[in-house]
Amino acid sequence: MNFSEIVLALCFSVWAILTVLVHVPRLRKPIRTYDFFCLVPEWRFFAPTPAQHDVHLLYRDQYSDGTLTQWTEVAVGSPRPLWAFAFNVNKRATKGLIDVVGEFCRHLAEGVPRLEFSIAYLTFLNRISNLQRLAMPDRTQFMLLRTDHDGHRKDETVLYVSPFHDL
């Protein structure tokens, strides 16, 4: 082995060791803090607690006369087509919403100050503020909803309702 191959082998060894260590809960945060390019993978495949619910983003508007619209769901993605086993265009949007809601709920649980300046909050607000509407309302707000499926029954839980924001 020449010098550059030894350096490469050392780098890959450290990388593989970090891949093991990042799965140790105590070491996860320090590794993640310095892993700017997300090079250290976390292999979970739905472990230890898989997603068992769907999440939904809804919004409602208020007009200048005080009228409130009904809560309306923001469509993210579409039902999975038959050919999704080969080419699945829908998964990015669906997973995207799951990720933003997950990040937002972690902020909520951790009591992050100034939640409304978080990227997750701004993502929701940006999305609902730019939706096409027939008439321009004065203010808008969003709600995050979780649907748990238990057999044929669907249980809905409100995760968060934002205050109104001027448009």
């Binding site: 390019f37 979970r44 068992q52 080969a86 919403l97 990227i119 701004l122």
Partner: protein
């Protein structure tokens, strides 16, 4: 039965080309759903550009915006798909594809700065592969390619075993009750399978036990003779094909199966 012999060159070619196909697929899948990449989408650069303070540094902000702002990001994705397709199907050996692989990795790095929303384990494996391949091609020797194959094989073993042991601590994975719960959700679910599993707890437990045994037992491939390690490869094929058909996790198949030639070569090199 004589098992096929894989040379290091062929193992390297297969690993690189299958991974590149996964990147080609992943990049093109963004394009029909490009609304999510727009400034008003879930993966808006307008919003995500405020994620890190250094993104807003003078010079950096303009440079990143030039590449990552919508619609410019579509050019990035198209370029990434084109380069991945070129390496995957090119007549030129992968070991000589230094420039396309470097550009592809740089594009991947840029895209990863944009937004982590919507990415999954298949993207994680493809990203790891791109960076490792770039470093390997930079060294450019047969020895470096052997180190790369060893690294990809190690990541294959780590991925399945880490996921298995993470599941093993959860009682609902052990008794199988998570399986119907996963298949009930709209995002990754399948109504028919969910109903079948809900009616048959024994099937759930058997399926979950099989999955746990396969994932947790995967490191055994390192010590088992090659013919006895092959059922673990077969388990991987079945797992990823099932995940693609029932959950729409299509890219997982390509990005993880791409590591199998590397793992097969490493196991074969032990001589037993």
């Amino acid at each position: 039965m004589t098992l096929p012999h894989l040379t290091s060159e062929l193992a390297f070619e297969l690993t690189v080309r299958i991974s590149m196909f996964s990147i080609l697929l992943a990049s093109t899948e963004y394009l029909p759903q490009r609304d999510q990449l727009r400034d008003d989408g879930l993966m808006s650069w307008d919003v995500n550009s405020a994620r890190q303070r250094w993104y807003l540094a003078p010079g950096v902000e303009q440079a990143l915006s030039a590449v990552l702002r919508y619609p410019n990001v579509l050019i990035l994705l198209l370029a990434r798909a084109t380069l991945a397709g070129w390496v995957a199907f090119s007549p030129i050996p992968s070991s000589q594809q230094v420039v396309p692989v470097f550009i592809l990795t740089a594009l991947g790095a840029s895209f990863s700065l944009r937004s982590a929303y919507g990415q999954d384990g298949a993207d994680q494996m493809s990203w790891l592969f791109s960076v490792a391949l770039s470093a390997t091609l930079l060294v450019g020797t047969p020895g470096a390619r052997l180190v790369f194959l060893l690294f990809m094989a190690a990541q294959a073993v780590l991925s399945y075993s880490a996921a298995g042991y993470a599941k093993l601590v959860a009682p609902k994975w052990r008794d199988g009750s998570y399986l119907p719960a996963i298949f009930r959700i709209e995002a990754y679910g399948h109504r028919g399978i969910a109903e079948a599993l809900s009616k048959n707890p024994r099937l759930c437990k058997a399926a979950a036990s099989g999955l746990l045994a396969w994932e947790c037992g995967f490191p055994l491939v390192v010590v088992l003779p090659l013919p006895m390690a092959l059922p673990f490869f077969l388990g991987g094929f079945v797992f990823h094909v099932a995940a693609a058909f029932t959950m729409g996790l299509n890219c997982f198949f390509w990005s993880f199966v791409a590591t199998y030639p590397a793992l097969y070569f490493v196991l074969q090199s032990r001589g037993f």
